[in-house]
Amino acid sequence: MINTQDVLETIGMIREENLDIRTITMGISLWDCVSEDTDRLCQRIYDKITSKAKHLVRTGEEIEKMYGIPIVNKRVSVTPVSLIGGTATPEGYLKIAHTLQRAANELGINFIGGFSALVQKGMTEGARNMISIIPEALTETQNVCSSVNVASTKAGINMDAIALMGSTIKRAAYLTRDNNSIACAKLVVFANVPEDNPFMAGAFCGIGEPEAAINVGVSGPGVVASAIRRAGDCNLSELADVIKKTAFKITRVGQLVANEAAKRLDTPFGIVDLSLAPTPAIGDSVAHILEGMGLESCGAHGTTAALAMLNDAVKKGGVMASSHVGGLSGAFIPVSEDAGMIAAAEKGALTLEKLEAMTAVCSVGLDMIAIPGDTPEEVIDGIIADEIAIGVVNTKTTAVRLIPAYGKKAGDSVEFGGLLGYAPVMELNTYSPAKFIRRGGRIPAPIHSLKN
């Protein structure tokens, strides 16, 4: 007989502590769709995505029912469009974005990622054409997500690309000014981008990936927070152990769902992303975990240390629970998507500078942060450059997803709705980095010796 305590614990995690599978994302390679003719390319893309992922949503729903655990999102990621677009003009790339949207509509998925470019060392004409049309693509579609990798530890930082991103983000914000600049929530700028990430907006199917693969992202900040609460006044060694054990259990469910999805969809299992992904729901917050560890508020001094320990323990517990780990793996700290982060930012406890420090020790980076709409594009470039430098020097993924909310100023708030939540507009240091940014060129790859 199954142990009664185990049954009650599992059901409690799901029903009361918001344990869920955040996403089943099918990565689909589009290499074989390549064509000189954009219309033919689009038709092949549509046909391939809608045939490979035909049963994705239904399968997700069946597994949800079978194990009694919510699978919140079913998504698709594709080969970076700039790599398969070839000679397409900006209008051609826009047509591809619309094709991705049509495929998403047909499948009933809620996001499709891969309107992406890899420009860490330099930019092809194709990548330049694609990036130039990102604002229009994200404005005219609803579920297409875009990402641009502007740096890597091996290649250094492409400052010319970063200089393009500030204006791209601003234009995306302007074009969706009647809808809280929502296009910016679908665009992320990366350093060391992972190629098997199931989470949006940065998911795409990397160049070394198979025809198709099932990647699963787990969640469960509420479960970790409850476990910490139950642990009481133990010391940090004991607390790390509690987090590890909890992460193990969460990830095992992710692996179970990934195996079942891979089997039913006859598609190889790719990875489980060991993530603590918050939602704006009460009891599903990473900030509240940090506060449960003993901080008066997220953002207080000590936050970086607490987050470092949390992130490390999640990975240690999760790695043993899964056969293949990948993606972004770690705690996410998106401001608008986390009730505790929102509260901390609103009361001034959490600043952009503290968030930047936190990103040095956890997954991803400056995520879903609303900034004043009149922020100069060079300042946005500067924020990106700083964040990307942290990733490049520390050999980790970092990313920036900023929303310069059109017409809003510091202290206002922006409502995105659903999983994207709402965000207080944060105050910025607006001293200009313009001259530094305009120098252009590349910041050389960092040395990996003489570590100090």
């Binding site: 007989m1 049954v7 614990e9 079978m66 655990i69 259990k249 095992r252 469910v253």
Partner: protein
Amino acid sequence: MKAVITVTGKDTVGIIADVATHCAKYDANILDITQSVLGEYFAMIMLADISKLNIEFASFVDILSALGNEKNLVIHTMHEDIFNTMHHI
């Protein structure tokens, strides 16, 4: 293939009989039952073999859930693998 059926709610006459009747109707063979009553509160965990189930498992889940709603109980029906995977290495 086995399913774990959990039933919680205010204690009334015939809860086990109701669930067992539904199991029999759809050919779910009950293997084990653990049940307790704390004050007015009833909690039962039932293990059932569902390999000969005569309807889709998803429909069986919905039917038991609807029974729960009708009787003012909460009934979860889940494949046993989620518990085995989470709690056993």
